[in-house]
């Protein structure tokens, strides 16, 4: 199984001609053919012949100085426009949408020589944390087929976890990269807001949406972000801040680093099994020379309300563009979840309520930012759970709207602040993966890779293969 190897290992083998891009693409398709009927990781799979033809070309043109991802197969969340290739955002309104242009991030990855295999399943428009709210088939967790894979970038995490692709591009508004990474035992990065161009990303909530890499390890992610990050003159929110050479942070000791544990993220509502895994992870960091301290983020307990008032207001406005005249089908096709989210956002923005709801939430967002800034004055990074509970059974969250929202407490709040957060495997509870978030300073992604990489040298959680691969002896 080649795709179990790291991006760097694969790149070295490709350049030495010990393996070929064709081998990798064949392996991708063979995994998908065997497993995707059960997992539903993909909404649209690219024609195999086309991908193989591209791989043959890459093999012929392989040179030592090419990008580290040259010749590697990849997948991308179906939230990104791909020119003349079906793009649905998980929603039937866009069932036959063939974008006239490609997302900037897709172009960057393809121009670096990677080969598209397909578009990953997702909660429609990013509305959900389970990949059940897709208008296609609900996705299943490779560790337990009866459970959700997390979401909304669930399809991407499944594809990595079951080794269908070495990496994928996800999208994170309030946890959509971090949650499925945690639930599927993969690594994912929510970048600092503005670090990666959003051009061609189908919008959920524009002040929160971020484009990030998903792969097996912090090491893989560091190489991907080097390719993905940077200013785009077509995205006015993309940052001018210099892009670091992220892979140079790998291996730097973390002795003396101060890691803050926000008390509000370890209190009531956190499953004690998840809490135990997280506290065990802090011991690994202590062994590596870091110091663990408690910090307070008092208003973060209101995070779910603040997050949803803002995100749903923005989504009700963003989804106003689906009028069925220029592209897409009519608004009857919005799913139940999306209709509810649009109505709530419309309510929070409507005359008489906007001051009490939307504007108040924006003021509280300012308070969250202040508290986060204060905390980061006394520590280098924060460490927190990703989800309050283990992956639930499929159907459980859909039937409990409030519990569904609470799943985003630890991730949505970090999105409101605009901070980067690395989600990496940190252990297991009852046989199910549990991830943790390492949250950094704005544009401090390098420091997150530094911590994540050393943690993954000390532990092997991220190397463990899901049940669906073990049972089948794939």
């Amino acid at each position: 199984m080649l795709i179990d190897k790291s991006i760097k290992e694969l790149s070295i083998l490709l350049k030495k001609k010990e393996i070929s891009s064709v081998d990798l693409v064949k392996e991708s398709y063979s995994k998908i053919e065997k497993l995707d009927d059960k997992l539903h990781s993909f909404i649209t799979i690219r024609e195999k012949k086309e991908a193989l033809k591209e791989a043959e070309k890459k093999d012929k043109e392989m040179k030592d100085d090419q990008s580290i991802i040259y010749g590697l197969p990849f997948s991308i969340k179906d939230a990104y426009c791909t020119e003349n290739f079906r793009t649905t955002a998980g929603n039937k309104i866009l069932d036959d949408f063939l974008p006239p242009y490609s997302a900037e991030i897709y172009k960057k990855i393809v121009n670096s020589g990677s080969i598209l295999i397909g578009k990953n399943n997702m909660d429609a428009w990013g509305h959900g944390g389970s990949t059940e709210n897709t208008d296609y088939q609900p996705a299943h967790n490779p560790w337990d087929l009866e459970r959700i894979p997390g979401g909304s970038s669930g399809g991407s995490a499944i594809a990595i976890s079951s080794r269908m692709v070495p990496f994928s591009i996800g999208e994170d508004t309030g946890g959509s990269i971090r949650s499925p990474s945690s639930m599927c035992n993969t690594s994912g990065l929510k970048v600092t807001y503005g670090r990666v161009s959003r051009l061609g990303a189908i919008a959920y909530a524009s002040s929160l949406d971020s484009v990030g890499p998903m792969a097996k390890s912090a090491e893989d992610l560091s190489y991907l972000l080097e390719i993905m990050a940077g200013r785009d003159s077509y995205d006015s929110t993309s940052s001018m801040t210099k892009v670091d050479k992220y892979s140079q942070f790998l291996g730097i000791p973390i002795k003396g680093k101060i890691i803050g544990l926000p008390k509000e993220f370890f209190g009531a509502g956190l499953d004690p099994r998840v809490k135990k895994v997280l506290l065990d992870a802090t011991k690994v960091f202590e062994k590596l020379g870091a110091k663990i301290i408690d910090v307070n983020l008092p208003h973060f307990t209101y995070g779910v309300s603040i997050y949803y008032l803002i995100a749903l207001s923005e989504t009700s406005s963003n989804l106003g563009r689906y009028d069925s005249f220029r592209f897409g089908g009519n608004r009857e096709l919005f799913s139940e979840e999306t209709k509810k989210r649009i109505l709530l956002g419309t309510y929070a923005l409507s005359a008489g309520y906007a001051d009490k709801l939307y504007k108040k939430a924006q003021k509280l967002r300012t308070i969250l930012i202040q508290e986060y800034n204060e905390a980061l004055k006394i520590c280098d990074v924060l460490l927190a759970p990703v989800n309050p509970s283990l992956p639930s059974k499929i159907g459980e969250l859909i039937n409990d709207p409030l519990k569904n929202l609470m799943e985003d407490l630890y991730t949505g709040t970090i999105s409101l602040v605009g901070a980067p957060s690395l989600s990496i495997p940190s252990g297991f509870a009852d046989g199910l993966p549990v991830g943790m978030q390492i949250i950094g300073k704005k544009f401090g992604e390098g420091e997150l890779f530094q911590l994540g990489y050393l943690y993954q040298q000390e532990t092997d959680w991220h190397k463990r293969l899901p049940t669906i691969l073990k049972n089948k002896n794939e």
Binding site: F97, L98, P100, Y101, Y193, G194, S207, R231, S233, Y234, S236, T237, S238, S239, M240, H299, Y302, V304, S305, I306, Y308, L309, S316, G320, S324, F325, R326, F327, G328, G329, R331, E332, F334, E336, K339, K340, I342, L343, L344, T346, Y347, S350, K356, L357, K359, K360, A361, Q362, K363, L364, R365, T366, I367, I369, P401, L402, L405, L416, V417, G418
Partner: protein
């Protein structure tokens, strides 16, 4: 406790151009009331003199030069529309004949 009535749902669905069945109106009124009831927790927090945050970037808008560059042509722009006429998007009539 926030109560989202069926009438309010009806009004919101008109504003958002989403048609709902009677059953949906009832169901959504209940579910949204419970979610809004929870969100009322922010009601009593004092935010006096706190400015609103609309975006988290400190850089402001960074604009590019206003140069004309190649863009989508008419065919590309119209190809995803189900209703076009003579190179235009066809939309429902909004002004009355008189």
């Amino acid at each position: 406790m926030a109560k989202i009535s069926k009438d309010l749902i009806d009004n919101l669905s008109k504003l958002a151009k989403i048609n709902l069945s009677k059953e949906q109106e009832e169901k959504y009124a209940n579910e949204l009331s419970s979610v809004m009831g929870y969100m009322e927790e922010i009601k009593n927090i004092n935010v006096e003199n706190i400015p609103e945050t609309a975006r988290v970037s400190d850089e402001g808008n960074v604009l590019r030069d206003d140069k004309i560059e190649p863009s989508l042509n008419q065919e590309q722009s119209l190809k995803n529309s189900k209703n076009t006429h003579n190179g235009y998007f066809l939309v429902p009539q909004i002004l009355k004949d008189d």
